[in-house]
């Protein structure tokens, strides 16, 4: 199969959906000539024109509001917040408006809105450009949360997001836009709520998403050398969550390590740990172990930055601990 970059997969997904449905349009900052901060939209302005590739001022709240207003009147906007950190400026529109509008109005208004954004550390861009904030959205009823790791997943899931009749927060990771992966030429979509076992194993389940999937796979490879068989479980969508598959995996391995780049306190990882600890109480041979980011604003200095987020070695260590 051909291999393409993660960002190219995004571009393909968007183009296919724009071609399929004239109601789909893009809105965000520097998505015109510039092609988006990570160049995922390169060339789209020329192809679809400024009516469908809307380059906005720096007005995050109103970018989301624009998405909502267009969505409830029949369009399918893909609204971009350049960094997930900047959602702080749009939380009211995301949480109080978009997430609730369908429910509050008794299903009167439907809001098929995709909010595309990216997060994560690793590029030395410090505390205001490196956060992993998925836990905020995960906590809010009315939002679906998608965090694809591979080029294959990002394409299939973005197409599904655009077709979904609800609000989808679609979170990419800044360190993986250039990762290449196999993506078929033929059209495909990936359903929400279906996890992907990125590697099968029997001794321990490693739950990881977004960029952490790759660290988990590296760890699994190393651990194999030592005779430890890890199952790498990529939920792909955090909301809805494929709890059934997760419990199945844990019931097989009896051990779980949950990996997240976000700060541990109040993280998605904590939630997964809590769920599995209670729902698979009798299957667990060891306490669930979380591998997470440190409880600190991300520092600029790269030694400190790297120390703030999980690495292969941390996962290896955690796996050994749950097996000890």
């Amino acid at each position: 199969m051909r291999e393409i970059e993660y960002r190219e997969a995004i571009r393909e997904a968007v183009m296919e959906e724009m071609n399929r449905d004239p109601k789909v349009f893009l809105i965000g900052e520097d998505i015109g000539k510039y092609g988006g901060a990570f160049r995922a939209y390169k060339g789209l302005l020329d192809m679809y024109g400024p009516e469908r590739v809307i380059n906005t001022p720096i007005s995050e709240a109103t970018i989301i509001g624009s998405g909502i207003g267009a969505a409830v009147t029949g369009y399918r906007p893909v609204a971009e917040i350049m960094f997930i950190d900047f959602t702080g400026l749009a939380m009211d529109q995301i949480v109080n408006q978009a997430a609730k509008i369908r429910y509050m109005t008794g299903d009167n208004l439907r809001c098929p809105l995709v909010i595309r954004t990216q997060g994560g550390a690793g590029r030395g861009v410090a505390a205001q450009h490196s956060q992993s904030l998925e836990a905020w959205f995960y906590h809010v009823p009315g939002l679906k949360v998608v965090m694809p790791s591979t080029a294959y997943d990002v394409k299939g899931l973005l197409k599904t997001a655009i077709r979904d009749d609800n609000v989808v927060v679609f979170i990419e990771h800044k360190m993986i836009y250039l990762n290449k992966g196999p993506v078929p030429e033929e059209e495909y979509i990936i359903d929400f709520g279906v996890a992907d076992i990125k590697r099968e194993g029997k001794d321990v389940t490693i739950f990881a998403y977004s960029n952490m999937v790759f660290k988990a796979l590296e760890a699994a490879k190393d651990l194999e050398q030592e005779g430890i068989s890890c199952e790498v479980f990529d939920p792909r969508t955090l909301v809805p969550l494929d709890m059934e598959a997760l419990l199945k995996s844990v019931k097989k391995t009896n051990r779980l390590v949950v990996v997240t780049e976000a700060c541990e306190r109040g993280s998605v990882a904590s939630d997964i740990s809590a769920k599995v600890s209670s729902q698979a109480f009798d299957s667990l041979d060891a306490p669930v172990k979380i591998v997470a980011g440190l409880n600190t604003p991300i520092p600029y200095n790269s030694i400190l930055e790297q120390a703030s987020i999980p690495h292969k070695a941390d996962i290896v260590k955690a796996v050994k601990e749950v097996l000890a």
Partner: protein, 322 residues
């Protein structure tokens, strides 16, 4: 602009009265705890919704606020379903889930009241994009009050509507207060309409107690919008006759000020008087109209009270399925 017909004028009066009587009823119902939560009556401001909504079509959009009953009624909402919503019933506009602050109806182009001050303003931009892309001449009217005009979203939205030439009419109902905060203390410029200059769009002041005046300025703005000439900002000067909500004695404001407005600027009193003077309507006709409206309002209460509560089982089922 064509002169208003007799029929239109009578319709203006009818809708003003409909809003007033409906609001008075909701206040009563609130005081006996049949309606609860938050309720923000539109009493005193009726002429704005009436004039503005008369200037647009059913297929056009409105974006409303926490003080939204008047906008809904003027856009054609059904009193029964409104009252049912206020009582939290299954037959309400939001199936009892929303209450006063969230009434919406796609059919009528009502894109929602809002519990967040200013929350609808960014949404109006999206409605504007939608109208523009669709290119069928549809427009959106976005209501908000003085307090909302100080929130950042006002600025972002008007700027964006302006640069993209969106067909949105911003109607600021300056009722001089945001809860207890006087607009004289909270807004750095004398007239909110002046803020239009920051977006190079028309900024117009109008007497919000006069439905015809409001109708005229909104009609002009709508024409510009339909011609692709972009948004306008209209400041309708008005007054919140009561407290912020039914239990607010509003003791932070000057009694005489309130009395002045209630005496001089009541759209019900003034517009009745005008139509009588213009011999557009007779007192008997007004009395009949009032009776019909009171009946309709009473009916809405009956409808609401007899309506079922939303089903708890269905609710729990739904929650599980999310």
């Amino acid at each position: 602009m064509a002169e208003l017909t007799k029929g239109q004028k009578i319709q203006f009066l009818r809708t003003i009265l409909k809003i007033r009587r409906f609001e008075e009823k909701t206040i009563q119902m609130y005081q006996i705890a049949k309606i609860w939560g938050y309720l923000h009556p539109y009493v005193g401001e009726e002429a704005i919704a009436v004039g503005a909504c008369a200037a647009i079509n059913k297929s056009d959009y409105i974006i409303s606020t926490h003080r939204g009953h008047g906008h809904s009624i003027a856009k054609g909402a059904d009193l029964n379903r409104m009252m049912a919503e206020l009582l939290g019933k299954a037959t309400g506009y939001c199936k009892g889930r929303g209450g006063s602050m969230h009434i919406a109806d796609t059919e009528l182009g009502m894109l929602g009241a809002n519990g967040i001050v200013g929350g609808g303003i960014p949404i109006s931009v999206g409605a504007g994009f939608s109208c523009k892309m669709e290119a069928k001449g549809r427009v959106a009217v976005c209501f908000f009050s003085d307090g909302a005009s100080n929130n950042g979203v006002f600025h972002e939205a008007l700027n964006m509507a302006a640069i993209f030439n969106l067909p949105v009419i911003y109607v600021c109902e300056n009722n001089m207060y945001a809860i207890s905060m006087s607009s004289c203390d909270s807004i750095a410029c004398k007239d909110i309409a002046k803020r239009a200059a920051a977006y190079d769009i028309p900024g117009v002041i109008v007497d919000g107690s006069d439905p015809e005046a409001v109708y005229r300025v909104v009609t002009e703005a709508v024409e510009l919008a339909r011609q692709g000439k972009g948004p306008s900002l209209i400041e309708a000067k008005t007054y919140r006759f009561g407290g912020h909500h039914p239990n607010d004695p509003a003791d932070y404001r000057d009694k005489q000020e309130a009395e002045f407005y209630k005496r001089e600027k009541d759209p019900v009193i003034n517009y009745k008087k005008r139509l009588l003077e213009e011999k557009v309507i007779s007192q008997t006709e007004i009395d009949t109209m009032e009776k019909e409206i009171i009946t309709a309002v009473e009916d809405s209460v009956k409808f609401a009270e007899e309506s079922p509560e939303p089903s708890l089982e269905k609710f729990l089922e739904e929650v599980r399925s999310i």
